[in-house]
Symmetry: C2
Subunit: 230 residues, 2 copies
């Protein structure tokens, strides 16, 4: 069992991930700027999932108590949040960044992303945290609506990282979500493409009048050998 803090855990994507991992028996700490809102959301998820190991706290406190941090704030809040939490991150802790710099966060189109100087939101995150923090990028491509439901997720989770430990943790967390599958997507820099895929999937949602277009990687060894790889 992992102790997972979700920074931005009261938002749609964060609370969706929280309930998935609560259902899978993990210890989950909902982090928020507002500790009371975090506790309310945690109580809601605990009741919904029957897992009493779901608690809520202010972000810094949530980060301090966890082994794995998952960041699910809007892009416009990402940099400031990481700066504010810098001292709460211990060396060796794993940070899984799910941020996508959708242009809609600054009034543009959700089918476009902003250019981030470092190459991607995840690379910006890696620049902002202290050196010992192990960053992986993952969970950008599953829609919040689907995460919040109990339905199987028909989508792979492409994990990009320069640290094997962080990559493996993210793949394991992905595999805890029914239907999802963690895929090793190589270096953190490849998050550029994975983040943009979110915008492309939103475009496809519009074209096909659906809500949860996802993607699967094909041509890989069978699922069982993938399982042993993780």
């Amino acid at each position: 069992m992992h102790t997972i803090a979700i920074v931005g855990g009261t938002g749609p994507a964060g609370s969706g991930l929280a309930s998935r991992w609560a259902r899978a028996g993990q210890r989950v700490i909902i982090g928020s700027r507002d500790a009371v809102r975090a506790q309310q959301k945690a109580a809601e998820i605990a009741a919904q999932t029957g897992n009493q190991n779901v608690s809520g706290a202010a972000n810094a406190e949530a980060v301090s108590a966890a082994e794995i941090i998952v960041l699910t704030v809007p892009f416009t809040a990402q940099a400031q949040t990481l700066k504010d939490l810098k001292l709460a991150f211990r060396p060796g802790i794993i940070l899984i960044d799910a941020t996508v710099a959708l242009a809609s966060t600054v009034g543009g189109r959700a089918t476009r992303v902003l250019g981030v100087w470092q190459g991607s939101a995840a690379q910006q995150a890696a620049e902002l945290v202290s050196k010992g923090v192990l960053v992986a990028a993952a969970f950008q491509n599953i829609g919040a609506e689907l995460l919040q439901s109990a339905a199987d997720v028909d989508c792979d989770v492409i994990v990009c990282s320069d640290h094997d430990e962080a990559r493996q943790a993210a793949i394991e967390l992905a595999n805890l979500i029914p239907g999802a599958r963690g895929i090793d997507g190589g270096r953190l820099e490849n998050a550029r493409t994975v983040e943009q895929l979110t915008a492309l999937l939103i475009a496809i949602n519009t074209r096909y009048k659906v809500h949860s277009a996802g993607l699967r990687i094909t041509g890989l060894p069978t699922m069982s050998s993938l399982g042993s790889k993780t």
Copy 2:
């Protein structure tokens, strides 16, 4: 039946697409800077597929004789090729661009793409051709090795275009390849992401020690309704 000219048709991706469409009963013209090499490759594909409607010609002649042009030259040759062929393109003709600006084309990594000022190689193509040419981006994500085989392709072909006619033609051509499926990926600008996906799939190939990682879009209406959409 369409008449398809493949500019760069003697290369691995171009000849792979040519043999797939020849097998599907289309009329295919292999285009090359060297008419003799084009004719040799055409004879080879005709023999291999049993389709006698495969011919070879210099690029300009191939373009002049076709309804649909597919561009499969390396990125480093894309701009010059389109400039050289500018007068051969008739207004209303469809150009399907399969170019990816892989960094390996200039000595970098195949897991990275170059920044193209217009946003993507396909958008560069759209800027270089005359106004009446209808550009779509497609076929970037299926590896040449897989195209050259007779095996089913377990990969979607995401088509991006600002012209319905070009989009539909590219989706139809994708659906002629056994196992492939044309997907409407929205505007031409979305080719940025689809082109980068090629680099990501190359990274995944390396990680999983496979040769033909591909992708499928999930969460869409059933195949039959997709079929009627095209």
